[in-house]
């Protein structure tokens, strides 16, 4: 099939400048006519940045992006559906849908006719004069969809379109969309959808691209040849989901240099309670120390953007290993699960000192200073040499929570200062 858009060598760095923290690195991809392509990755993999580069909302630092005219020689166009719906609360459903046509200076009558056609297609008839506030989440996203479709784009870009909806609503909307797409009623050539929900990707897409994190690269590609409508309980479906889980945790499983964490790489803000909770879950039956990640995600009702940061942090702290898509407790992790409060703290403290360089660095500075105090700004500045201020702030918050729990150091929020001891 004809390509719609081809991308090569695409790279983007924080702040757009060379030398900033890389977000995307050397991404090449092609979206062809008649296919639904999924971009799967965790937070920080740059999947949204990639989508926005195609939409023209982000100007990447490097690379090339080319839309290929269709068979009739017509230029391509894109439209986007947002996770947050992004509807104007002061415009009615009809006015919201007309917005894109207004920008194109489509005459009022034609605008109205086309908008109503899109509204009817997407199952919103009767709601033309309603304001978004009056609609449920699912209906709002239908408005978002109609607004994107009405401008007749060649490529429909969807940024986690169902993740703000409850499970049932998301399911209905997904199957409605797939049905319309299958019947060829949408009038678009292809769909590119960003998601962090593996099952959603397997349900909807013909092709799934897995992005790795920091920086984002295309790590793997999966074809989905299952016929629509797809059945989640189909063994082939389950198998594919498992494969993707395994692939997505593979890179992280490779032993990273243990002392590097924290100073030049952002730490995820994961609370000690989540860490302890996951360790206990894996340790207890039915898993008894070894849990397939996809089952774990189902049991705990966690999406991968919630589950993976916890898993990765546990890996980094050497509480847990990932082996072929399974989470496996280490000796230290199994011990943690059995320990009482004080032992746990001591255990956590040892692992922080050994494996999180930022934590041991802060402790060292505090030990060296006579006052045993150090302003947080000092460490924030060090971090910002390697990452964006946002990531630096998250990283510092994470290390503060862990350090406080482990009683490695104390922190005074008012003074923005680390110290060795909390004043009694």
């Amino acid at each position: 099939m004809n390509p719609v858009v081809t991308i090569s060598g695409l790279g983007h760095s924080y702040g757009g400048a060379e030398g900033g923290a890389p977000i995307l690195d050397d991404v090449a991809l092609e979206v062809r006519e008649g296919e639904v392509v999924g971009l799967l990755g965790r937070s920080g993999s740059g999947k949204s940045t990639l989508l926005r580069s195609i939409a023209g909302l982000v100007e990447p630092s490097r690379g090339e992006l080319r839309f290929v005219p269709d068979a009739a020689g017509k230029p391509r166009s894109v439209a986007m559906v947002f996770q947050s719906f992004a509807l104007m609360p002061w415009l009615t459903v009809l006015q919201n849908v007309e917005l894109g046509l207004e920008a194109q200076h489509v005459p009022a009558d034609e605008r109205r006719r086309r908008a109503i056609a899109a509204i009817d297609l997407i199952g919103l008839d009767g709601f033309e004069n309603a304001f978004p506030k009056e609609l449920s989440g699912g209906m709002r996203q239908r408005v978002g969809l109609a607004r994107a479709l009405v401008v007749e784009p060649s490529l429909l870009l969807m940024d986690e379109p169902f993740s703000a909806l409850d499970v049932l609503t998301a399911e209905t909307l997904r199957s409605d969309l797939i049905e319309l797409w299958g019947e060829g009623q949408l009038g678009i050539a292809s769909i590119l959808i960003v998601t962090h929900n593996i099952e959603e990707a397997v349900l909807m897409c013909d092709r799934i691209l897995v992005l790795s994190s920091n920086p984002g690269r295309i790590a793997a590609e999966f074809r989905v040849d299952l016929p629509q409508p797809r059945d989640r309980l189909d063994p082939r479906f389950r198998d594919l989901v498992e494969q993707i889980y395994a692939r997505m945790t593979q890179r992280a499983a490779a032993p990273a240099l243990p002392v590097d964490h924290g100073l030049d790489r952002p730490l995820p803000e994961v609370s000690v309670n989540s860490l302890a909770g996951l360790i206990e879950e894996v340790e207890a039956p039915p898993f008894s120390g070894r849990a397939p990640l996809s089952t774990l995600a189902d049991t705990l009702q966690l999406e991968i953007n919630e589950l993976f940061p916890i898993i990765e942090t546990l890996q980094m702290l050497h509480f847990l290993d990932v082996d072929d898509g399974d989470a496996v407790l280490t000796e230290r992790g199994a011990a943690f699960a059995q320990q009482g409060v004080d032992q746990r703290k001591a255990n956590f403290r040892r692992t922080l000192e050994q494996h999180v360089r930022l934590a041991s660095h802060i402790r060292k500075v505090l030990d060296e200073r006579r006052s045993h105090q150090a302003p947080a700004r000092r460490f924030r500045d060090e971090l910002e040499d390697h990452m964006s201020p946002d990531f630096a702030a998250t990283t510092l918050r994470a290390v503060i929570e862990w350090g406080r729990y482990a009683e490695l150091f104390a922190f005074d929020d008012d003074e923005d200062q680390f110290s060795l001891e909390d004043p009694a």
């Binding site: 080319r66 439209a79 986007m80 609360p89 207004e102 920008a103 506030k133 401008v151």
Partner: protein, 588 residues
């Protein structure tokens, strides 16, 4: 297919003419709407006809304390208020939008607004009256403009700030929709940015309107040096009544004001607030949306859409001013360009700094020709006196109103009843009541230095009250219950729960009250009743005296010193407190 299109047309109408709407007959709501619109039109026309008369007519027809003339005076005063509000609105749209859109404009406009906000507006009168009268010699228009300008200066700045801040907080996803669909800058402004800013702007316009009353009273009866003009209006009526020691006339004016405030609140602001509710960006419908019977009336009226259709037609012409829609770029190649140095911007910053320092040097030179360093010390000393008054009075007002506000705020039924009254009292121009203080001070031979002071917070204390009420009613019920369960009461209850809970709100109230009090000092430290003139030593009376004497240099000096005091207090006291409130004490 054609059938469904016809149905669709019936469903939503065409160009605002919906068959469903026009199908029904006109009802009584149409009559009421028509009556309201006609009354507004007639009132405006007659008021404007009044305003363009020659100045000499005012000498022939002096202000009379005849109750029959009061409705006309009230009308003229109201028109001035709304003219100033309209001017503030236009100014806000232009200045705030420019500041939000252009870095260069922002560099000039925002610091200027910040300073203007802290400048005592009443001190301006000397300069503006002279300027406007020179612009329209012999005509009432000049004086009207000066009065309207005085009100404008009390309304415009906070409105502009509100719009500027809103424009910079437009949610990122809405911004992306605009760019993704290629909306032109103009259409983006009309469709996304201004609507988003509407609720904040409406709220600030309402507060501005309340503040405006204070200045109406002070600006209609203008006397600068030997020039004395009295514009027909409630303010002049009051001035005459005070001059003749006619308490009955003062009471009448107060009543007229109350009626006017009630009327425009019901006819203008309530409907506008009810309408602006749709512009609030939030995912769920608010549990208790603001209601207004006038708004419902207008919505029910079938007459209205055809009446406004021509305006909407004109608005549609906006499209003509737009550039042709852009086609999507089909091929893009990205490279990192060396970060372009914003040389132009730096040059501009330098230019602005040079201009500002030149102006400062010029002002000091100008003052230096007539004033000595001793004058500066006098002004500064007076400033300290006024500062003492403001601090003590805000403290006293807080001691009184914080407990009362908390008591009310914790009882939802009382809150609903008292909150509108407190807001009405804040709108009420306290300077009307000053003469009563004079009578009392003279009767009991009290010390004006002490007893004139309370007048400064008479009008501004309500900000403390209604902010504290809002804060107390926002304290989550589970916190209150937890404290009750543990038997926390007395001082501990205040320290651990109530004071931290209301702190952010209290700071907002105290900041507004303090700023207002400085401004009020100009009229509160020098008060008259007939030929009894009382004055308290302070910066306010310093400026008032200089204005009465037509001493431009001293007025300017007084204004500058007061601005410095207000800015210093805001920066050194309120801003740090705000920061603490934001970091530590947000209940969310």
């Amino acid at each position: 297919m054609a059938g469904s299109e016809a149905r669709a047309l019936h469903r939503i109408g065409f160009l605002g003419f919906s068959p469903r709407r026009l199908g029904a007959t006109l009802g009584w709501s149409d009559l009421a709407v028509f009556a309201i619109l006609a009354a507004v039109a007639v009132g405006t026309v007659s008021g404007v006809r009044d305003a363009v008369e020659p100045l000499s007519r005012l000498r022939v027809e002096p202000i009379t304390l005849d109750a029959a003339a009061l409705p006309r005076y009230a009308l003229l005063t109201t028109l001035r208020l709304f003219a100033a509000l309209a001017a503030s609105f236009v100014f806000t749209l232009v200045a705030a939008t420019a500041a939000a859109k252009s870095r260069r404009a922002e560099l000039v406009i925002i610091p200027a607004l910040d300073i203007l906000q802290s400048v005592p507006v009443l001190g301006f009168m000397t300069f503006t009256v002279t300027a406007f009268m020179g612009l329209f010699p012999g005509s009432r228009v000049g004086v009207e403009c000066a009065a309207i300008f005085a009100i404008f200066t009390s309304q415009a700045w906070n409105m502009a700030f509100s719009l500027y801040q809103s424009l910079r907080q437009v949610p990122g996803d809405l911004e992306e929709v605009a760019r993704g669909f290629g909306l032109s800058p103009l259409r983006k402004l009309l469709r996304i940015e201004w609507p988003f800013a509407a609720p904040g702007l409406v709220w600030n316009a309402m507060m501005s309107m309340s503040g405006g009353w204070f200045f109406v009273v002070a600006s209609e009866a203008i006397s600068v040096g030997r020039t004395q003009v009295m514009l027909p209006g409630i303010g002049s009526w009051l001035a005459v009544a005070i001059d003749r020691r006619d308490l009955g006339a003062v009471a009448l004016a107060v009543a007229a004001m109350a009626i006017v405030i009630l009327l425009y609140d019901q006819l203008v602001f309530r409907p506008v607030i009810a309408w602006a509710d749709r512009f609030r960006v939030e995912q769920t419908a608010s549990g208790d949306p603001p209601r207004s019977w006038v708004f419902d009336l207008f919505r029910r009226a079938r007459l209205l859409p055809p009446l406004t259709a021509p305006f909407r037609g004109i608005a549609a012409l906006v499209a003509l001013a737009e550039p042709a829609p852009r086609l999507m770029v089909q091929h893009r190649r990205f490279t990192t360009s060396a970060a372009a140095r914003p040389l132009g911007l730096r040059l501009w910053t330098g230019l602005v700094l040079i201009a500002a320092s030149a102006a400062a040097v010029y002002a000091v030179r100008f003052l230096g020709t007539t004033l000595t360093l001793a004058d500066a010390w006098t002004a500064f000393g007076s400033g300290l006196l006024t500062l003492l008054r403001v601090v003590v009075l805000i403290a006293i007002a807080s001691l009184i109103w914080v407990p009362i506000g908390v008591w009310i705020g914790l009882r939802p039924r009382w809150t609903a009843r008292v909150q509108p009254i407190a807001q009405f009292l804040a709108a009420f121009p306290a300077n009307v009541l000053f003469p009563i203080a004079v009578v009392a001070i003279v009767r009991w031979h009290a010390d004006p230095d002490v007893w004139l002071s309370p007048l400064m917070v008479l009008g501004t204390q309500w900000y403390i009250l209604f902010n504290v009420i809002a804060g107390a009613s926002a304290i989550p019920n589970d916190l209150l219950e937890a404290h009750r369960m543990f038997g926390v009461r007395g001082l501990l209850w205040w320290r651990r729960l109530i004071l931290p809970g209301i702190f952010p709100y209290y700071i907002t109230g105290a900041l507004t009250a303090s700023g207002g009090s400085w401004n009020a000092s100009i009229v509160a430290e020098a008060v008259s009743w007939g030929d009894t003139h009382l004055r308290a030593r302070g910066l306010g009376s310093y400026i008032a005296d200089a204005t009465a004497a037509g001493d431009g240099a001293r007025v300017l000096l007084g204004i500058m010193v007061m601005s410095v005091f207000v800015i210093a207090i805001n920066r050194l006291l309120f801003r740090p407190l705000y920061r603490i409130a934001e970091r530590r004490l947000r209940l969310s």
